[in-house]
Symmetry: C2
Subunit: 122 residues, 2 copies
Amino acid sequence: MFIEIDFNSEEAFYIQLRNQIIIGIATNQFQEGDTLPSVRQLADSVGINMHTVNKAYSVLKQEGFIRLDRRKGAVIALDANKLHAMEELQENLRVVLARAVCKGVAEEEVHQMVSEIFREMS
Amino acid sequence: MFIEIDFNSEEAFYIQLRNQIIIGIATNQFQEGDTLPSVRQLADSVGINMHTVNKAYSVLKQEGFIRLDRRKGAVIALDANKLHAMEELQENLRVVLARAVCKGVAEEEVHQMVSEIFREMS
DNA sequence: TCTTTTGTTATATCCATAATATAACAACTG
DNA sequence: CAGTTGTTATATTATGGATATAACAAAAGA
């Protein structure tokens, strides 16, 4: 899987890493039990500091996407708290969809886009 | 329309204001041509600084949701750049849906939630 | 065993951003 | 004229993002 940093983005580096890894899990490029690169290794390969990668991993652990093993490192391990995920999804969608609606995006267009994204991820 | 600040939220005050106003527009609580409270007035009523409200308004203008009129103040005025809105929507959905998918949320559940949010907003 | 790599923790610094506090000015309102 | 408006400027404080070293215990490989 290719992970890279957009140094011109306004998004924090550790957020970019987190999002890319989450998308990697959703697209099955990372699977349950797979190990992520070591913090030093990933930091080196994308050109940022070790602690920034460490922060991304810490957030991913705190949010229930990986497990930090003393011997194996960062291991993909989902604690699927679906109730919590649904609440988070709803709050996120409320803002994201409101923005789109204001700009004239229709409901059918959103449904189509959702379907397309699921197609990409399956 | 009720605007309020969650002082315990991790979200920046000006982002909270921005999102609530956008949701207000999407739900027709604010309509094209309506004026928002003056920066001093809104700052006073929600208990934050004038400049924080000013920043929220500046962002809303920059993102094409309001127009800043010398005499009327902040006026709801949408420049509906739909192409841009669709691109932004897609990028946002990619991350938001990936998070949900990892936690076991199914495509139908997303479609249902989208429909429900559109029902709330119409 | 020795060496290397690993995760982890602890400081420290630098910079940008968020939020606040005054202040001032031009323009509009009553 | 007095009050309110948007706007701009400056300054301060606090927080968060990113980096730089450094150190240590545990695991892995030779």
